[in-house]
């Protein structure tokens, strides 16, 4: 499941296998903050974040429309190092934190814009209300629009 997710996002088997290992490393390192419920959903979220961070670092050229969207989403947190972003994302967004509303806007954007999940499905997966998902997507879209304006594609 994790490898399939990484393959789907990275479109490169070697990179996907490498990312898959990082997914489990991240889980091992932060296991004390993991919640036991819905482990598959957790793995998918972590895999998505790891892949987005890699894409952001590599800045690879998009191969299709989904890739382009992914790269844009990955670019919504540009300016931070891979490690810092990964740590922040995993700790602040995926695991128990003092701010339970800080769900991953990037992951939500991928779920909706790339995976094709409905707002209701994203809301369930992210543990947010539909309006909360809408708000985060508005933020993501605004950022994407800003990127589209700044970087001709």
């Amino acid at each position: 499941m994790v490898l399939r997710r990484c393959r789907a996002l990275l479109r490169n088997d070697a990179k996907a296998q490498d990312a898959m290992q990082d997914v489990f490393v991240a889980l091992l390192r932060h296991q004390d903050r993991l919640q036991d419920e819905a482990p598959a959903a957790l793995l998918l979220r972590v895999a998505t974040n790891v892949c987005l961070n890699r894409m952001r670092t590599e800045r690879r050229r998009p191969e299709d429309a989904d890739d382009e969207k992914l790269l844009q989403i990955a670019g919504t947190s540009d300016g931070e190092s891979d490690g810092r972003t990964l740590a922040r994302d995993l700790l602040a967004k995926l695991f128990r934190t003092d701010d339970p509303l800080a769900a991953s806007t990037q992951t939500i954007a991928v779920m909706h814009l790339v995976d094709g999940m409905t707002l209701e499905e994203v809301a369930r997966e992210a543990g947010l209300s539909v309006s909360g998902v809408r708000k985060r997507l508005r933020t993501a879209r605004a950022r994407l629009t800003q990127l589209e304006g700044a970087v001709p594609t």
Binding site: Q21, V25, Q31, L34
Partner: protein
């Protein structure tokens, strides 16, 4: 973007299919998914069968041992560990998924065996472990020990290679040392709890997993490495690892309570036995904490 989004929204999310395959979706979600698939002339059963086939293919393609070793290597990389006490216990609930993870990561879980977290360990051979509670690593030529034993290994880097160093009772150790614990249950130690007491009076449970209420079932084999790397923190004075075993199952709480009681007695915690009845066998390894790096 809106047109692209409209197109994307027609997809059946792989995300939800994966969760459905793991049985994580509520019945209402499954119904929605089925309806969505049906609108495209597809069926959930066929999609799940395709995922299962994909998982099988991945299993056959991925070098499981090499992947696990690499995950452990990355996870145990000292340069990336925080300076405070840290357990790299390899049991985590998310890994307890069905084989559809893509690789046999159940091997990471205690009870499913695998290699020790340190790399380059000499002559260690993973054995079939079935549903045993910890990873079994047999040392060639060893014979079953008559009584429970406890070992503490320290990961050291020699000539750019990580090597385990077996520490003797009373050895010096320092903050940041990465340790791995191993035990031999012996003929009589069928059930056990492995914990540590430090100079700050803290008690840490290493076996069974935190949250378990009953002592772990121990293998009677020679030497079993916990799938754990344990980093010493800056607690002063000492870190003492204690293996409490019995021929009968016993509550973890009784061992922890005894350890906490002893931990409150200051320096006695270095050497005194835990206040438990003679029904229990105790063996321990004391590490003397030093402020500097390892000798």
């Amino acid at each position: 973007m809106s047109s692209a989004h409209d197109e994307a929204s027609k997809k059946v999310p792989a995300w939800l299919l994966e969760r459905a395959a793991q049985g994580e979706l509520a019945a209402s979600q499954v119904d929605e998914l089925k309806a969505r698939l049906a609108a495209q002339g597809r069926s959930l059963e066929i999609e799940l069968a395709a995922l299962a086939a994909s998982s099988q293919q991945i299993h056959s393609q991925v070098d499981k041992d090499r992947t696990l070793a690499e995950i452990r290597r990355r996870a145990a990389r000292p340069a990336e560990t925080p300076s405070h006490r840290r357990s790299l216990n390899l049991f985590i609930a998310p890994l307890a998924l069905a084989g559809s993870l893509g690789i046999g990561l159940l091997m990471l879980r205690p009870g499913h065996g695998g290699a020790p977290s340190h790399q380059g360990a000499p002559i260690v051979q993973a054995q079939p472990t079935g549903s045993e509670p910890a990873e079994y690593v047999g040392w060639k030529g060893d014979k079953p020990l008559p009584s429970p034993r406890l070992w503490v290994y320290r990961q050291r880097t020699v000539a750019n290679q990580e090597q385990p160093e077996r520490l003797s009772d009373g050895a010096r150790a320092a903050r940041g040392d990465l340790l791995q614990l191993a035990y031999a249950a012996g003929r009589d130690g069928r059930y056990g709890v492995l914990l540590s007491i430090d100079g700050a009076g803290r008690v840490t449970q290493h076996l069974p997993e935190p949250g378990a209420s009953v002592a772990a079932t121990l293998r009677s084999s020679n030497e079993i490495h916990l799938p754990t790397a344990y980093e010493l923190d800056d607690a002063p004075g000492f870190e003492r690892f204690v293996l409490i075993t019995s021929t009968q199952p016993f509550p973890v709480a009784s061992a922890l309570d005894a350890a906490r009681s002893l931990a409150r007695q200051g320096s006695s915690a270095r050497t005194a036995p835990l206040p438990l009845s003679s029904d229990f066998h105790q063996t321990s390894v004391l590490l003397q904490k030093t402020s500097k790096g390892t000798p």
